[in-house]
């Protein structure tokens, strides 16, 4: 029985491989963003340019932040 094997394109090795590679990179990208936000906070404090330090969402919560559960 081919019960547990899916034949859908999304479940092929090529697509899955791509997705997992992309996910790794997206997470790495998110980490970089976290680092950058830390720098932004320090920068805003030193320069007094508070508008540069403020972000509406926390990193990982904004629509432009990658979320692995998507």
């Amino acid at each position: 029985m081919a019960k547990n094997k899916s034949a859908r394109l999304a479940d092929t090795k090529v697509v899955k491989g791509r997705s997992s590679r992309a996910e790794e990179l997206e997470l790495e990208r998110l980490e970089i963003k976290r680092e950058m936000e830390k720098i932004m906070a320090q920068y805003a404090k030193i320069t007094g340019l508070s508008e540069l330090g403020s972000r509406r969402y926390k990193v990982g919560k904004a629509p432009n932040d990658y979320r692995s559960e998507e």
Binding site: L9, Y43, L52
Partner: protein, 615 residues
């Protein structure tokens, strides 16, 4: 020009600009070159026709959308232009049979173009230039032919759609119409520069000596501005969904670079001095995203040799020259930095777009295949389709929002890079300046790191495509999958009917249909994998994965076939057993009835029989 108001309050302005024939690139081929050229062109035409078909499909769902009529017109124009080029090349080599074949191919496009012009007129009252049916005959007769006009249009949002315009909007991926709008804006901005350049060149030819040298330098400076604008245009054209836009932008940049170099030649001839020339590969480098050399800003100082400079004046001039050189260097560095920032920020936004495209393409693929199902009631299929539509709409909505937030994030990050710690007013203390400089350095390093990751992500999301033409690739993939699924449905139709006739419960039948559907998925996925392996340039790892997928799909198909047969056999056997057991039960019932009847007979007539017998 026609200005049309949409129902939702937006406006569209369409205009056509006459184009002239430029066949220099396609004439002078020998037959072998012609065949090669036509083969390449046919591939291009197939792609353009697919794009046109997609637009026509879109128009069927939104027949009142004027933008789509203009997009269809532009798509038809591109095809007619390509066919015209092919005809010119063919007529030039004297192969009239092929030329006539191309004519037959071109006529339906001209008819469709004119019917679209008519539809546009009926819907908006605006007049666009119709196509001339004599184009193919004119080409065959080697006469000047009427090239279809270049269609551009701009859309204006309804009043409530205006944003505050406080930020410059970088677009990750542009449609042909967005790029046309972008080009028009750029042309408008550069119009005064072009006019100044024309005047300067006119004056140049009527002057000589130092005056001429100064005018050449002025012209060079104006030409540089045009080149800078062209560079931006080429950079943006790469993001356009139409490959022709890239070619047009490159052609424009090449022409301006050529003009710049001819001015440099003239200057060198006149003064003997040396100036930096525009690179011959500038357009290619910009389009390919490679490093390129920016042209230096031109400045000059005038020495009045007639009066003779004093030592002090000479010193001042020298000092001024050094200052100018330093300023130029700074300007060049700043321009380079801005170019780099724009490039990185655009790539970053493109990644988000490609990510959304990737997710949407998977859902679209599922939606397509939902049409080809065995056993599933149409209602359930429609419901799933609607769900997918909703999911796609949600992805697109989130994507738009994500772009907005990413843009605002980038604006903050790159502000750190743009602000020079040495000249920042806020950094009065030396220690603060040093700290700001160190934060800036770290930020640049992180942004570069992110850019590197973005590059990798782009290659994952776009596959092996080089021109960001993901949508048409996706359409080709979907077409291949659909065709394979359709063939499989036709092939298994009889089997589905047999399954429907089996003596089984609806749930049992559905479980068999599910296996058949899995085989359908496998068939379509297999067709796509085989196509990709055959046609695409893949990395070794990806080719290996594809081969593994192909083997896996074949195995699944085989397994599905045997599963369906096995289940059908089981159901048949069970039916047969039920039939056999029925006979046995019937026989026993009859036997019992016979025995019962015998016993009753003996009970009633037993005494009489015994007395009758004398017992």
């Amino acid at each position: 020009m026609a200005k049309d108001k949409y129902r939702d309050g937006r406006y569209a302005e369409a205009r056509d600009t006459a184009e002239v024939t430029d066949d220099a690139e396609v004439v002078g081929m020998d037959r072998r070159e012609l065949i090669k050229y036509l083969t390449e062109s046919n591939k291009k035409l197939a792609r353009q026709e697919r794009q046109l078909a997609a637009l026509a499909e879109q128009r069927r769902s939104e027949p009142d959308k004027i933008e789509l009529i203009i997009d269809c017109l532009s798509a038809e124009k591109r095809i007619v232009d390509e066919l015209s080029d092919n005809m010119v090349a063919t007529v030039d080599t004297g192969d009239m049979r092929i030329a006539n074949e191309i004519k037959t191919r071109m006529m339906p496009h001209l008819k469709r173009y004119n019917s679209l012009v008519e539809e546009y007129r009926a819907k908006t009252g605006g007049a666009l230039t119709p196509a001339s049916y004599s184009i193919p005959d004119d080409i065959i007769a080697k006469r000047e032919y009427a090239v279809l006009p270049l269609l551009t249009y701009t859309t204006q949002p309804a009043d409530d759609e205006y944003d505050d315009g406080s930020s410059t909007h970088s677009v990750a991926i542009m449609s042909a119409k967005e790029f046309a709008k972008y080009t028009a804006e750029s042309e408008r901005a550069m119009a005064p520069v072009r006019s100044k350049l024309e005047n300067t060149v006119k004056k140049m030819s009527a002057s000589d000596g130092q005056e001429k040298a100064i005018l050449i330098l002025t012209a060079l400076s104006l030409e540089k501005q045009l080149i800078d604008s062209d560079i931006e245009l080429v950079g943006a054209s790469v993001k356009s969904t139409s490959p022709r836009d890239v070619q047009d932008a490159k052609r424009r940049l090449n022409a301006d670079a050529k003009e710049y170099n001819s001015l440099v030649d003239e200057y060198e001839k006149l003064t003997g001095g040396k100036l930096t020339r525009a690179s011959e590969t500038l357009a290619q480098d910009v389009a390919a995203g490679r490093e390129y050399d920016l042209l230096p800003t031109i400045s000059y100082t005038v020495n009045d040799t007639a009066n003779g400079d004093t030592e002090e004046e000479k010193y001042k001039n020298a000092k001024k020259n050094i200052q100018n050189a330093a300023d130029n260097e700074k300007k060049v560095a700043l321009t380079a930095l801005e170019a780099k920032i724009n490039e990185q920020a655009n790539k970053d936004l493109s990644v988000l777009t490609k990510h959304a495209d990737f997710k949407v393409s998977m859902l679209e693929s599922e939606r397509d295949i939902a049409r080809y199902r065995f056993g599933m009631a149409p209602k359930a299929s429609k419901k799933r389709k609607k769900e997918i539509e909703k999911e796609i709409a949600a992805i697109k909505r989130t994507h738009r929002e994500a772009l907005r937030y990413e843009e605002s994030d980038n604006k903050r990050y790159y502000a750190v890079v743009k602000n020079d710690p040495d000249t920042m007013k806020v950094a009065k203390k030396r220690a603060d300046r040093d700290k700001i400089a160190s934060l800036r350095g770290r930020m640049i390093a992180l942004l570069n790191q992110r850019d590197e990751i973005n590059g990798k992500l782009m290659s994952i999301y776009t596959g092996s495509e080089i021109n960001n033409d993901g949508s048409s690739v996706n359409q080709a993939w979907r077409r291949i999958k659909n065709e394979a699924a359709e063939r499989a449905v036709k092939k298994d139709k009889k089997l589905a009917k047999k399954v429907a006739r089996l003596p089984a419960t609806p749930a049992e039948k559905q479980s068999i249909y599910n296996i058949m559907n899995k085989k359908l998925d496998a068939v379509s996925t297999l067709a796509l994998c085989e196509h990709r392996l055959r046609k695409e340039k893949l990395s070794r790892a990806e080719a290996r994965e594809l081969r593994e997928d192909i083997a896996r799909q074949r195995k699944i198909m085989k397994q599905c076939d045997s599963d369906v047969n096995w289940r059908a056999e089981q159901i048949k056997k069970r039916g047969a057993k039920k039939g056999g057991a029925g006979w046995v039960v019937g026989f026993i019932v009859i036997l019992l009835l016979v025995l019962g009847a015998g016993a009753a007979f003996l009970w009633f007539f037993g005494q009489d029989l015994l007395s009758g017998l004398g017992l």
